[in-house]
Amino acid sequence: MNWKTIGLVFRKEVRDMFRDRRVVTNAFVLPVFAMMMMFQLFGLIGSSLGGKKTSTIHIVKSAGYEPFRQALKVDPSMTIKEVDSKDKGLDELKAGKARVVLVFPADAVSEGDPVKVDAYYTSEETTSSVALARVEALFNAANKAVAKAYLKKQSLPESVAEAVILKPQDTAKAKGAGESIIAQMLPYILIMFIFAGGMAVASDLVAGEKERGTLETLMISPALRSEIAIGKWFALTLFCLASAATSVVSLLLGSMTSSVAKKMMFSGELKIEAGPILGMVLVVMALALMFASVQLWLSAIAKNMREGATYLGLANLVVLMPAIFSQFVGMTDAVRSVWIRFTPILNSAMAIRDVLLNKATLLVYLGPIVMSLLISVIFLAMTLRVFNREQVLTRT
């Protein structure tokens, strides 16, 4: 094995790839554009959720129950409108003009009996459910205030109304980091872009060269076929890593374009030290080597570029599944399961997440690195086997 020859093939492939406008557009320009668009969308969603928007609550006109009516009216997150009848209120609810319609009982209620207020909403609309939850919270607070007033009148301590008070105490190292969207999104984005970056060129590297006839030209040279394959593998890995770097830079730049998006992305205190960052870089590099070896093998077994693109598309689906799951696994009990640490791709995603949450240990990095490298070696060996057979050229 001659490393000089491998270096020659690597440099030529990198130069060739960066001269391909289609590849540069797919691997670098489009991701930046997509990320900017995503953040603008985040900004829009964020401002609609946390801005001045209020829930419109309709109350059917009736007498009495002033403490509750007042509590509703002073809440800034609600706009209260009175309607003449229940039917009119329901029509407004159906038309989407009201989120909740409250109907207080028309007849007087005996002292000591609870007042039953009908709250009409529609579970098909998230905004309606959110408004109902706000009304419920408000009614609970109002109930508590009524109870306290009653206890005071009876010269009893107000604390009887709240026998037990729950006081949450956060023990996280980086407080609030768990809420930060970046801890959920970055692993997914990195995995997606590492694979997508390689996908843009992998099909061209072997299947494309076979189709155009340049592979035969290359194989007539005195270079060993394994040297050619390894040179291409390194070039493909570099492209995967370049795409990952683009995704991180795009993420940071994109988050700067909208203050709401920035707040959503980095809501927690992200304090990451140099050691974990290095560990994360190693996890990403091992992942890039693994993806590159799988993609190179798929390109080598394909008859032509079209077939190669089909194989890579299917492989992309397989990669996306654990990547998507990694976004939600933190919300489940599976997050601490051992099988996650032995599931390729998912274990890398979890290691990146743990770095962002500042709770990664050496074992957290080692698992995905060793597994990714092992899979890389297996697929590279399979690729070399294909390269050393004449079918790499003759199977068309």
């Binding site: 020659l8 130069r15 007539i220 005195p222």
Partner: protein, 250 residues
């Protein structure tokens, strides 16, 4: 220089069964000699050249190129040869000079050897005018000249040409044939595959006729004409491959 002994290549096809692309092909070629491989389309010429250049492995048989076995020393064989065929294309996003530098380095040439040799091929093959254009932008004739430059750059003692004039105009074809005559004069051992009779008669010292994967005849064009009692080399070729006009029309 080149010794071919019973070189055979069989392919397995799920629909057509075993395909005998080449069967027991044997011949020799010497320095300063052009040996023509002549045959119809699909006769087995390209398969034979691909086996000799170690791109594909023979099913059986053996061959040596400049003393190196194609089975045991394929890398050494590839250092001895320059190969040009329709299927050896150029990298479209590289310039001719970049292409030559890449292949020169792959052949193990030193930087000083490479630069002087590149200067030489740029002049001899008249590539200078388009040396800085991307290969994708070149005409068919210009591409073929760059391909020849790539094949001869490392000054190999053996050259394989597989239908090098296919698809080229008369003037460009003429230029290429003149180059091959010059290479022969320089003492190169050349295997020239074609199905154009005039090229065979003009260039080749000896002819190897292959038909349906089998060796049908070897000798000089003149000797083959005499052996078959033919007025032209084309007629001799048709007799050797068993062409039957009536059967063909039927």
């Amino acid at each position: 220089m080149i010794t071919v002994q019973k070189l055979t290549k069989h392919y397995r096809d799920t629909k057509r069964g075993t395909i005998r692309a080449a069967q027991d092909i044997s011949f020799e070629a010497h320095p300063g000699e052009v040996v023509g491989l002549l045959g119809c389309n699909g006769a087995g010429k390209t398969t034979t050249l691909r086996m000799l250049s170690t791109i594909i492995q023979p099913t059986s048989g053996e061959a040596s190129v400049n003393g190196f076995s194609i089975l045991r020393e394929p890398e050494k064989v590839r250092k001895q040869i320059g190969f040009l065929s329709n299927s050896t294309a150029l990298y479209g996003r590289l310039q001719p000079v970049e292409m030559l530098q890449y292949f020169g380095r792959l052949c193990g040439m030193t930087e000083s050897q490479l630069s002087s040799r590149i200067e030489w091929v740029l002049d001899v093959l008249k590539i200078r005018d388009f040396q800085n254009q991307l290969c994708d932008k070149l005409s068919t004739g210009q591409k073929q000249r760059v391909s020849i430059a790539r094949a001869i750059l490392h000054d190999p003692p053996v050259l394989f040409f597989d239908e090098p004039t296919a698809g080229l105009d008369v003037v460009t074809s003429q230029t290429i044939l003149e180059f091959i005559e010059e290479f022969r004069a320089a003492g190169k051992c050349i295997i020239y595959s074609t199905h154009i009779m005039s090229e065979i008669e003009r260039l080749c010292n000896r002819v190897v006729i292959i038909h349906e994967g089998e060796l049908r005849a070897t000798g000089t064009a003149h000797a083959l004409k005499e052996e078959t009692n033919s007025g032209s080399f084309e007629e001799a070729f048709l007799k050797i491959v068993g062409y039957n006009r009536e059967a063909n029309i039927a």
